[in-house]
């Protein structure tokens, strides 16, 4: 019986240890930037949720498309209604991994290059993407950033002819996350 108890306690503490490897945010920032000769369009979303598992290197993001703020209200409406169809596809997600996670020392302050690869889902279309980002560990806090291009056509997003000169074929996506330790109460 004692053995069983010990076993149980060991299992439990293992559970807690796994727990402590997770970091999360609800206020991550993702920016779209479209550059054309006609105009530059920028949209910001400061309500991105993300979890990073520093043990396994697993990384997930969820982005509510309606939370992107455009400079012009009408652009925001058209973005949601016509291009990404937010009513049909409310969320974009990324589910992937830091493949060189062993090279990142989350216990030591510093800046680390992180190779990330995984599945990006936008407008109901999933594509595998790879990019290189930066992880900064400072005073026990973890922040992550990355910049990568997204081709609009890859995700089956149709841009009508009349505005095709105003919207870039490739959108530059910037990701900036400041993580905090994950707890159930968060």
């Amino acid at each position: 019986m004692k053995n069983l108890l010990v076993f149980a306690i060991v299992l439990l503490t293992t559970g807690f240890q796994l727990q402590a490897q997770k970091f999360m945010t609800r206020t991550g920032h993702i920016k779209f930037y479209s550059h054309t000769a006609m105009e530059d369009i920028e949209a910001n979303n400061h309500q991105v949720t993300s979890i990073l598992d520093t043990g396994t290197g697993e990384l997930v993001f969820a982005v509510l498309m309606k939370s992107f703020q455009f400079e012009k209200a009408l652009m925001q409406e058209h973005f949601n209604e016509k291009y990404v169809e937010s009513a049909k596809f409310p969320k974009s997600t990324f589910k992937g991994k830091i493949i060189n996670v062993e090279e990142v020392n989350f216990a030591k302050d510093g800046s680390y290059k992180a190779k990330v690869t995984g599945d990006l889902t936008i407008h109901g279309v999933t594509k595998e993407v790879s990019t290189e980002g930066t992880i900064v560990v400072a005073a026990g806090k973890i922040s992550a950033s990355a910049k990568f291009p997204v081709a609009v056509a890859d995700y089956d997003i149709k841009i009508p002819g009349v505005v095709k000169d105003n919207i870039a074929k490739e959108i530059e996506v910037t990701v900036e996350m400041n993580y905090q330790p994950y707890t159930q109460e968060n």
């Binding site: 019986m1 069983l4 149980a8 439990l12 703020q69 009408l74 058209h78 589910k95 009349v162």
Partner: protein, 310 residues
């Protein structure tokens, strides 16, 4: 209960929290973290008008909307008048979004040399999810001033005699991406009418809607039924119900509404209460609304940021 069993139970009880932590899929944890959100319906209509009538759409805060409306002559005027296109009535209007729920507008139309202004207030927004509201509800009140020269300048004329008032409640639901419908109880009051027999007040129920045929195009319709109420039957018996069909084309910053209607006037006092054309006779006016938005301040961003949910 044996000791072993007790131990086992204890063991299982101990495991429960560990199991709940052991959600392998980070995506599931993210979903739990987010909780339920409120989804507000947006883009119920392409623009601020269904055809002649106001839609529940308001220009965003800090956005100025210019609307140029044209109604040509009657199609049944024939080839000599080029099926109405030789004549045109027009209205020039500006609308401004003071906040997400408040909008004011002014306009000038050559029909009866009418100046008009209105205030539009959004009371409820259709939503699903955390907060459920089946419809959006907007109130519009307008005042119209007929500034034609006085018919009889020699008698004592009062400015108040030039005024008409309109009050509407717009109740709309976006059923899906393609279909939106709107009900519009309407009251028109004219301070002065031409003869003693005519009613100063007109009550009407309007219905409108749109069917989106492509992401940038929709077909809209609108009908105002004049209520034949006891004591208010003159208008119902002597004027026509307004029926309009339009084809909306949105091109980025512009919305074009190409329409056929039996109403010549472009203000509520005229198209609800003084429509004379009959569709069956071919008294149909071809026309268009051209709406263009100008972002004059970045109010909408600030409002969204403050996340004020009203």
């Amino acid at each position: 209960m044996s000791t072993l069993r007790k131990t086992l139970l204890y063991f299982i009880w101990l495991m429960v929290p560990a199991l709940s932590f052991a959600q392998d899929d980070l995506m599931d944890i993210l979903d739990d973290m987010e909780g339920e959100t409120t989804n507000y319906a947006f883009a119920t209509f392409k623009t601020v008008r269904v055809v002649n009538a106001h839609s529940i759409e308001l220009p965003a805060a800090g956005v100025l909307q210019l609307i140029i409306s044209h109604r040509f002559g009657r199609i049944n005027d024939g080839a000599y008048q080029f099926f109405g296109l030789d004549q045109a009535n027009m209205r020039l209007g500006f609308e401004y979004g003071i906040s997400r729920w408040l909008n004011v507008g002014v306009g000038r139309s050559n029909v009866n040399k009418t100046y008009d202004s209105f205030m539009k207030v959004k009371f409820f927004r259709q939503s699903s999810g955390k907060r459920v509201m089946p419809v959006s509800i907007v109130g519009v009140s307008g005042i119209q001033a007929n500034t034609l020269n006085w018919a009889d300048p020699d008698r004592t004329n009062y400015f108040s005699s030039r005024l008409s008032f309109s009050h509407q409640l717009l109740i709309a639901r976006k059923f899906n991406e393609a279909l939106s419908l709107q009900i519009m109880p309407t009251m028109i009051h004219r301070n002065l009418v031409a003869t003693r027999a005519e009613d100063n007040d007109v009550f009407s129920i309007g219905a409108g809607g749109r069917v989106k045929i492509t992401p940038s195009m929709s077909v809209n319709f609108e009908y105002f039924y004049i209520l034949d109420l006891p004591g208010y039957s003159y208008t119902a018996n002597n004027y026509q119900n307004s029926l309009s069909l339009s084809f909306d084309i949105e091109t980025g910053g512009h919305v074009f509404q190409l329409m056929f209607t039996n109403s010549r006037g472009m203000t509520e006092n005229l198209f609800v209460a003084e429509t004379t054309g009959e569709w069956a006779n071919g008294d149909i006016y071809f026309g268009f609304n051209l709406a263009r938005v100008f972002t004059v301040s970045d109010k909408h961003k600030k409002q969204e940021k403050s996340k004020e949910d009203w």
